[in-house]
Structures are given as C-alpha cells and as structure tokens.
Symmetry: C2
Subunit: 341 residues, 2 copies
DNA sequence: GTGTCACGCCAAAGCGCTTTGGATGCGCAT
DNA sequence: ATGCGCATCCAAAGCGCTTTGGCGTGACAC
C-alpha cells in the first residue's frame, strides 16, 4: 500500500493524505481522522527512501567503527554504546547505520557517506589524540559528535567525553590517602585520547603529592585480561612490588585479580585495585556492593546522550557546537584498603 | 555533484552517463572512459536514496537486536558478529542498519521495516527455542537468515548455527574419558535455543556413559562472571563437589576460575574446566596456548558467513533456503586434567 | 448582490536516479 | 541512390513521496 493507492482508496488527493498524516493544518479534522484511520487499517508506512528523497533528509545517522588491522579488536564498549544510542534514535525516528571501516579507508568512506547522502550525521568512535577524522568531517560540513576528544584538534567540534583526567586523579588520590606510594598504572593504548588523559590525571595526583611516576610501573596496551594478568604477575614479582593498581578497564582488572589471587594476595587487604568501569551490561562490577573500587561512567548513557546531541545538531546545524563532560564518580568497592606496612 | 550536473558538464544525457557508470554495453568505450574519469574527478557518487527508489532495492540489510527489559543485557557476542558481517556487506556494497527493539515491539518493527522498505533483508539474532519472529518474517516474505536456530519452528528457514549439541557432547566425553563423573554444567538461559542444545549434548554424552545428570550440578542463567563465580563457589562447597565444570561462555569461565583459585584449587589439576569460546576479539582464550580447554567457534566468522548467505538469498529469492552448521572443534588447553582420586 | 477571506482541497513539479522506447548517423550491401 | 542494421546516444516516464501554487466554496461584511 503506497500513498497513491491510499489516496485513491479514500477518494482524496495524495497531497491531502500526505498532509493529513504529517499533521499540517490545511486539512479538516474530520478528514484527518478518516485518513489516519485508513492508514492504520491498511498498515500504511511512507516509503523511507521516497520520503528522504523528497525531503532531503535521510533520517539516519552513521556510526563508523574503526577496524584497524593492527589491533583488530572490536571495542567491547561498542555494544553498550550502540544500544544506548539506539534508544534515542528510535524515539526520534532515526535509523542507525553501521560501517566497519579499516583505518586507511576512513577518508574515502566519509566522503562517500556525504556524497551518497545516506546519513544526516555521524558519531565518531575511539578518537586518538591526534585524529584526522575530525578535521575531515568539519571540512565536509556534515554534523558529527565525537565520543571522546582529540586533544590535538584545534578547531571546535561537538563531543561528549568522560572526565578521564579528574577521574583518574581522584582515584590516585584515594590510593595515596590510603598510604599507597608504589602505584602501578595499567592503561589502554596511549595513542587513544582517553588513555592519555587518564595518565595525565594519574601523574597530576602523584606530583601534587610530591611523587614521580615510576616507569617500571607504567604500562599501556590493548585492554585484555591477559594483559592485566601478566603485567600484574610481573610487577608483583619485582623487588619493590606495587601495593596498588590503577587500571583502565574491568577486563584488565579481572586479570590483575587473577594474578593477585594466584600469589595468595587478597584484594583490598594485601594489594589494592581501582579500575575504570564502563558499566557494561555484560560485565557488571558486582551487584549492589561493587567488587572493585572504580571510577564509573555508563557507556550506555554516553550513547544515549551523544545520539541526542547529534540529533539536536542535525535539527539546528547553525547552532553552537555542543560539548559535554561527564564526571565519573568514584565508587567504593572491596578492592581497596590501607597500604600494608 | 549529481547526475544531472555531471551529464551537463560532459555534454551528455543522464541516460548515457548512468549507463556508462553502471557498465551497460550501449555506450562506446571512449565515452565510458571520459565519463568515469569525470566522475572520479568530481567525486561523484550516485545518491543512494534516489538510486534505491529507482531500482527498488535498498542495498541495506537490517540487524534487529532484541533488548528485552527482563535481561537488558547487550549480547557481548554482538560486536564481533557485526564486525564479521560488516566485512561481507562492505564487499557487496550493502549498508548495515541496526535497530534496538524491545521484545514486545518485534512484530511491529518487522512490519515497519517491510512497509518502509528500508532493508532488503534481515539477520535474526539470539533465537529462542520457540521464536515467533521466524514465522512472522516468513509470512512477510522478506529474506532473512537466523544466527542460530529455533527448534520448535516447523517451517523451513535459512539459518547458520554452531553444532552446539555435538560440541558439548564431545566436551563432556573428554571429561568422562579423564575420569570425571561429577560434572557441573553452567549454561546460558535455557529459553535460548543454543543453551537447550548444549544441555542436550551434555546429557546425551552422560547417558551414553550410563550416567544421569545431577540437578544440583545444573544451572542456567545470564552468562556473567559473577554467575560463574558464585555458582562454582557454592558447588565446590558441596559435600560431593563436582570435579569438572562445563560452561557456556568464557566470561562464566573466568568466574569459575576465580572461585577455584580462591579455594586454592589449580585448574587442570584439582578441578577441570571446559568452556565454549566464541573467539571474541576482546576476550581471547590465551594466546598460542589456550588457557582453557574449549569448544571454539569464531562468532566473527559466523557473522561473515551469515551475511553472505543473506546476500545470496536477496539475489536469488526463489532459491532453496540455505542452512549451515559449523562445527566447534575441541581445543585442548591447560584447564583439563585427569580426575583427582 | 458583490467583494473578500479563510478554509479545505487538488494538480503538478520536483527530489536524483534507472530504464523504456525511440532517434540519429554511419557503413555497407544492394 | 536506396535500404538495412548496428552502434551510440537521448527524451521522457516513473520510483513514492513532499511541497508549491492555485482553485472552488461558503461565510461574512458591506
């Protein structure tokens, strides 16, 4: 059933039917009723492609997922972010388009999305400290929101980020307050902007306490369980092992816990651990009582909010570029305790 | 730059330009060269919406992600599956559309996708044993491929699945061969078809060995680390604790390992563990030497293949409904060993 | 009665592409 | 010269929708 048929069926013009369904005032209330009732009955939905061709709006937003060949890992965060964003899109009638793109292809793909007109806007995932995508998208004049930031980008752009610096500073301060002095940082890849910022927060808190970070206790890698395990194992075997760990993801934390328990160390007593917790639906940090002390920020919420920002921007392209900094509160769990003497 | 402009620029008709770019024979080789060169230079891409309006093909496939409110977990498998599917789509020029849909809304959403014509086909995720979506989609006559199966569905449909039954039977047999008699099964939610089949495989192997499953050693729940931990902890505290665990996901396995190590038990010596391993990119089962003995099947490959099946089917709708059963080989890791006496 | 206006509706153009059904011109055989 | 066929190209219709501009009608004021 398409508009033409529906109109014919009702003995009305396409114009009137279209207007009736889209809430224009030039149509009497009685006909509107009649039309929407018939539409309902025949399960009529305007064809999306025809509609967007006519209106010039795709009613779709794109998510470009980088799948670099060097670290061909799908960001575990991704599912939850998407799920949050999807909720928002649904409310506003937007579709969500996904493209898996290899790093080198990024410019080409963005240009294509623009030229083909498949999307009205984009979400940029996993920005690096210096990320060429942002400049490119600005040039292309297509609305976009970055999940995270790119510190080296000079031009303004829309972003939503967690305050990684302050979160990790606060976490570090807690450990310092508990008397810890040898604190290890197991960070994500430091080409990623968020990792850079977390390290900055960590170092700031240390230096404010008059301490310097110790290179042997700093690591940066893809955030896997094995990474957490082997790093912690090695560090705990050092002459002066760290008494506390600050790590960038719950998955790393699982590895650290394993290494600790393997040595018979009890978390929160013999060794302390704070992790960042993205509040992933399939990797909960315990139930009511969190297992790990953590800086927590729901990535699902981030998805919801980013999507909203993007939709707002698509609606009012001229308006100022929105930015949003979410705080990640420190959640006290059972993995932290005073430094053993 | 659109077709009209490009044609004007070249002093040709839209027809000729369109034909030149789409490889039709009615155009001389010289003009074809000229056209494609100009298209390249002006970075021309046909507008997707206009194209699909004209051709009637959306060049997009939809993935409908169920987000039931009862278990509002985003399937951790999802990212990798999508990433595999995305590769295939890219090769064939298809876009990938995602919809997060609450369970109750499923029928409505499918009807809408059909009526709005946004997609040419669908992938159905996470089928339950009795899943109404399949019948609905068959009725709607829209091509689709199910990732998994729905045992109760009588009508034929296209699917790709892992041979869960045989995988779990073989895993059980290995444990039996190693002398284990008290084997616990920590399964996923048994409304899910895959979980049902795994249990069937487990029970088949037991009964072939003349054993009956012991209810106290069977559990079924959302597959989280905590679930694995607490279940294992409780079971290991029993009078006659299990000597081996068979679990449905690596995440559960992590929990079991924690419970075991907490009790000072060494995996592969004091207690054995086999897990199903979806080979997720962010949750690797060790490196070259797998940590856990596992039935392994790459969910990313499953995505790749499902997508291919769907595209084939969209291309030849009349052809027989394809089905594909992937075997999940048993990978020997360090988590299994002879039953301690 | 006539003019004015708001109201409710419609015909037709247009979005950017594909595709049908010719048109045109040229070489070649007749 | 004439006719035919082939190779190239084009005009125009159509995909399903929105939107512009306009058209008839009845109410109301004068």
């Amino acid at each position: 059933m398409n508009l033409k048929e529906l109109a014919a069926h009702l003995g009305l013009s396409q114009t009137t039917v279209s207007r009736a369904l889209n809430g224009y005032p030039e149509v009497s209330e009685t006909t509107r009723q009649r039309v929407s009732h018939a539409a309902e009955q025949h399960n009529y939905r305007p064809n999306t492609r025809a509609k967007s061709l006519a209106t010039g709006r795709a009613m779709a937003v794109g998510h470009v997922i980088p799948t670099s060949t060097r670290h061909e890992m799908v960001n575990p965060i991704f599912g939850d972010f998407i799920s949050g964003a999807g909720e928002t899109y649904k409310q506003h009638g937007y579709d969500m388009l996904l493209s898996m793109v290899e790093d080198g292809d990024q410019p080409r793909v963005y240009r294509e999305l623009k030229a083909k007109g498949t999307v009205d806007g984009l979400i940029v995932h996993a920005p690096e400290t210096s990320d060429p995508r942002i400049g490119l998208l600005s040039d292309l004049e297509i609305p976009f929101v970055v999940h995270g930031r790119a510190s080296d980008e000079a031009r303004p752009y829309a972003w939503l980020d967690v305050n990684n610096t302050s979160a990790f500073a606060r976490a570090t301060e807690l450990l310092l307050d508990l008397g810890h002095r040898r604190i290890a940082l197991l960070n994500g890849l430091e080409s990623m902007d968020f990792a850079r910022r977390r390290r900055a927060g960590f170092e700031r808190a240390l230096s404010e306490a008059g301490l310097a970070p110790e290179p042997a206790l700093l690591r940066s890698a893809e955030m896997t369980e094995t990474y957490g395990y082997s790093s912690a194992k090695e560090m705990l075997a050092m002459d002066h092992p760290p008494t506390a760990f600050l790590v960038s993801s719950l998955i790393i934390a699982l590895g650290v816990r394993r290494a600790a328990e393997e040595q018979g160390l009890v978390l929160g007593r013999d060794v302390s651990l704070i992790t960042h917790d993205d509040d992933l639906s399939y990797l909960r940090n315990g139930g009511d009582v969190p297992v790990f002390t953590a800086t927590r920020s729901s990535v699902r919420d981030a998805g919801r909010l980013s999507a909203q920002m993007l939709i707002d921007q698509i609606g009012a392209p001229a308006s100022a570029l929105p930015t949003r900094l979410l705080e990640a509160p420190l959640i006290h769990g059972r993995s932290t305790g005073p430094c053993p003497t």
